[in-house]
């Protein structure tokens, strides 16, 4: 029996690092001086590690802004890659502090799973992509088709709902990751591939012959994607929500990464409050006066982040569309800073 100890050995190497007991997430993050951010294991344009191992992308930029606001350094982040299945457990169990992982805001996730959505950083909708030579021009013609769909996501449920209401049948081909979807779809394992329209466009852009594929006109769902935090910690939810709002407001008032220093002395009282020149909004949030300034300076305002990671001209090549500011006919809208 002595050998059994050889096995128990590593179990005792455990790092039982008892965290600061329930000081609230904001206190925890400040205490450990690092933000734990749950990201997609790999989602073109939204979250991926570059060749030096630094995480990049549209979703990642949210975490960077929060880290800059709370800890003063956008690199004080521990990135925790999560899959569609592991993401919520990771958040519930405290393995991560915030989850900006293209997660759709739904009633059950908000109410039943006990999460709080701190905003919508991307308004999306689910669409279908098919090969052109299939001769299909509408999703209603997909009766009996095999359809690639990511498991454990709302797309799976939307797909079932849509086909039920249309009274037609389909054969699901379950996949785990967008990369797997490319393989299955290009290899002909499924007739159609369904996921958020933005992602369809992104993936199509990487195919050897993008023109051979079309995205069908039907958008079958609303997919408001946003950063998620645990329910019941409103202080922390406020920090994430208002950091995000600061990015949107900054775009509205023309505050950019470049001009942020001049804008601090702007005449506009809203901008002065936002950047901490006037008032004490930061203190109310449990942060210092420069919190929003640092968040914006990290990677720019909402528009700058969008343009740099997924906007027109990048490989993802996505139009602002619904994600334009409200003053430009979109849905991005920040409540006032006062």
């Amino acid at each position: 029996m002595t050998k059994i100890k050889a096995f128990i050995g590593p179990a005792v190497f455990l790092t039982f690092a008892a965290g600061a007991a329930t000081a609230g997430t904001l206190g925890d993050v400040k205490g450990r001086d690092v933000l734990k951010c749950g990201v997609n294991t790999g989602f073109a344009g939204f979250a991926y590690p570059d060749s030096s191992g630094r995480w990049q992308g549209f979703d990642v930029a949210i975490c960077r802004a929060v880290a800059a606001a709370v800890l003063g350094d956008q690199d004080k982040i521990e990135f925790v890659p999560t899959t569609g299945e592991t993401r919520f457990t990771a958040l519930t169990s405290g393995e991560i502090d915030v989850l900006p992982r293209n997660t759709t805001w739904t009633f059950t996730r908000d109410v039943d799973l006990k999460f709080t959505f701190a905003g919508v950083n991307y308004y999306d909708g689910q669409g279908f992509m098919v090969r052109k030579d299939l001769g299909v021009t509408s999703a209603k013609e997909l009766d009996g088709a095999t359809i690639c769909v990511q498991t454990g996501t709302t797309t799976e449920l939307n797909l079932a709902d849509y086909f039920k209401t249309q009274g037609i049948s389909y054969q699901p081909v379950p996949i785990q990751t967008p990369a797997e979807a490319d393989q299955q779809f290009l290899g002909g394992a499924c007739d159609a591939y369904t996921t958020d329209a933005s992602q369809l466009a992104t993936q199509r852009g990487t195919y050897p012959n993008p023109a051979d594929y079309i995205i069908l006109p039907e958008i079958i769902s609303k997919e408001p994607l946003g950063p998620v935090v645990r329910q019941g910690d409103d202080e922390w939810a406020d920090v994430v929500r208002w950091t995000y709002n600061a990015l949107v407001a900054a775009e509205e008032y023309g505050v950019t990464k470049k001009n942020i220093d001049e804008m601090s002395s702007s005449e506009n009282p809203e901008v002065r409050r936002l950047l901490g020149t006037e008032g004490d909004l930061g203190r109310m949030l449990g942060l210092d006066a420069d919190w929003a300034k640092r968040a914006i300076a990290a990677n720019g305002n909402y528009g700058e982040i969008f343009a740099e990671t997924i906007g027109v001209g990048t490989p993802a090549n996505i139009e602002r569309g619904l994600n334009a500011l409200w003053i430009n006919g979109g849905l991005q809208y920040s409540p006032p800073f006062r």
């Binding site: 029996m1 002595t2 050998k3 059994i4 100890k5 050889a6 096995f7 128990i8 050995g9 590593p10 179990a11 005792v12 190497f13 455990l14 790092t15 039982f16 690092a17 008892a18 965290g19 600061a20 007991a21 329930t22 294991t41 790999g42 989602f43 073109a44 344009g45 979250a47 991926y48 590690p49 060749s51 030096s52 191992g53 990049q56 521990e78 925790v80 890659p81 999560t82 899959t83 299945e85 592991t86 457990t89 990771a90 519930t92 169990s93 405290g94 393995e95 990751t177 967008p178 990369a179 490319d182 393989q183 992104t202 852009g205 990487t206 195919y207 050897p208 990048t314 490989p315 993802a316």
Partner: protein, 434 residues
């Protein structure tokens, strides 16, 4: 009349054998064209191989090693070899090989995993090859602690204290043994070790840390482990611990003691009846929720424990097969020599049973090493998980064969070396005459 008989005086010079009976021609005739069916099969297979090579060769020949993105690769190939040419874009391997090897380990600390790997080879040497001095085995025993310290960082005091647990256990065993018998000594030894680990090791390690602060390395969170380093850490630990645990379970299952036997059977059957993915998901989700909030039980250690338990259950059955194959006479002979249970197992039974089981044991090792890629399911970035995240980089989005092929190649090299070693071991241990 006279008889003329002729007797040849000189020997004929030897002639070479007919061309069809020697060399490659004969080999080909015997092995490839011995019958009509075989000739037909040979031609078909040759055609298949040539066809495959003809398609693959241009892909390798047109490969690009220096490029910043897949688009650049495609442009370079089109420019050099024409619009329709296909070619491999190995530039992605060149760009990301460090990530493939070390995951997100801090680049200024790459020497630590590298040194660990070299030490791994040194620690394996005395176990694998009998020509290496036996004293090296002490290093092999110390190796897990050293590697834990190198990879995870922190203070060396913790591994030292864990090892001290074994000493404490042995000490108690020695003290109790003469007075209260071997069974109580065993129980006392195990209990003392556990008490040391759970209650005393922590404070003592803290004390040691203050005395020996220079033995502290910069800690690295296991979230930053990835790539082949992660596979090797999980695979090597699993292999190292599953064999002894499997031996114990196999012995326990054949033991006459009811409680030990039931525990072992229950454990083996339960673990074997559950898919590895389920165990990994338990490690990733359930433990997270069951453990008190604030405890941070390292995810990689959790995975290692699950993989080890899983593999140990299979190992136990493999070794039980070896035990069952031994003739009863061997057990009786060991008893007749007056050996006690552990001596009999160590000196007579186990060497033979393990020898019989070698092919199956190595089979287990290989499948364990390949199973480490399943951790991609719980979002650890092993080589397969890394491929996904590399493909999400807009520079490399759309690349497939090069990445998976590279991963497959490395896995093949590792697994094939294990297989070759097992053949060598079988030859070395062959004692029968054939």
């Amino acid at each position: 009349m006279h008889d003329v008989s002729f007797v040849r005086h000189e020997m004929l010079s030897p002639q070479p054998a007919p061309a069809s009976q020697v060399g490659p021609l004969r080999w080909a005739r015997e092995n490839l064209f011995s019958s009509i069916l075989n000739s037909f099969l040979t031609i078909v297979s040759a055609a298949a191989v040539i066809l495959a090579l003809a398609h693959l060769w241009p892909w390798f020949a047109h490969s690009v090693w220096h490029a910043g993105s897949l688009r650049e690769c495609r442009e370079m190939i089109a420019q050099r070899w024409g619009e329709d040419a296909t070619g491999a874009c190995f530039a992605v391997i060149r760009d990301r090989w460090k990530q493939f090897l070390f995951g997100f380990y801090p680049s200024e600390l790459y020497w630590r995993p590298t040194l660990s790997f070299v030490l791994l080879l040194a620690a394996l040497a005395p176990i694998l090859f009998s020509a290496v001095p036996r004293r090296m085995l002490w290093f092999s025993i110390a190796f897990p602690g050293i590697v834990y310290w190198l990879l995870w960082g922190g203070s060396l005091a913790l591994p030292i204290c864990v090892y001290a647990g074994f000493l404490v256990g042995m000490l108690v065993h020695r003290l109790v043994g003469p007075r209260f018998g071997s069974l109580l000594a065993l129980i006392g030894g195990v209990l003392a070790t556990l008490i040391w680990w759970f209650y005393l090791a922590g404070p003592v390690a803290g004390l040691l840390e203050t005395i020996l602060p220079f033995l502290t390395l910069e800690p690295v969170a296991s979230k930053r482990f990835g790539g082949f380093m992660l596979s090797i850490v999980i695979g090597a630990t699993g292999i190292a611990f599953s064999l002894p645990l499997g031996v114990l379970l196999a012995l326990g299952r054949r033991s006459g003691l009811f409680i030990i036997q039931s525990i072992c059977i229950g454990f083996i059957e339960f673990i074997r009846g559950v898919p590895l993915i389920t165990l990994l998901l338990v490690a990733s989700f359930l433990l997270n929720i069951f453990l008190p909030p604030g405890t941070n039980f390292d995810i990689i250690l959790r995975v290692i424990i699950m993989v080890t338990l899983f593999s140990a259950a299979y190992m136990a059955e493999t070794i039980r097969g070896g035990l069952a194959a031994l003739p009863r006479g061997q057990y009786e002979a060991a008893d007749a020599l007056g050996l006690d249970y552990w001596q009999a197992m160590r000196l007579v039974i186990m060497p033979q049973a393990l020898k019989i089981s070698i092919p199956n044991i190595v089979n287990n090792f290989i499948s364990l090493f390949k199973d480490t890629t399943l951790v991609a399911i719980i979002a650890l970035l092993d080589p397969i998980g890394l491929v996904t995240s590399i493909r999400a980089d807009s520079n490399w989005n759309g690349i497939v064969w090069e990445l998976y092929g590279f991963v497959a190649l490395i896995f093949f090299i590792c697994c094939y070396s294990m297989s070759v070693y097992s053949k060598h071991l079988e030859r070395r241990l062959r004692t029968d005459h054939r």
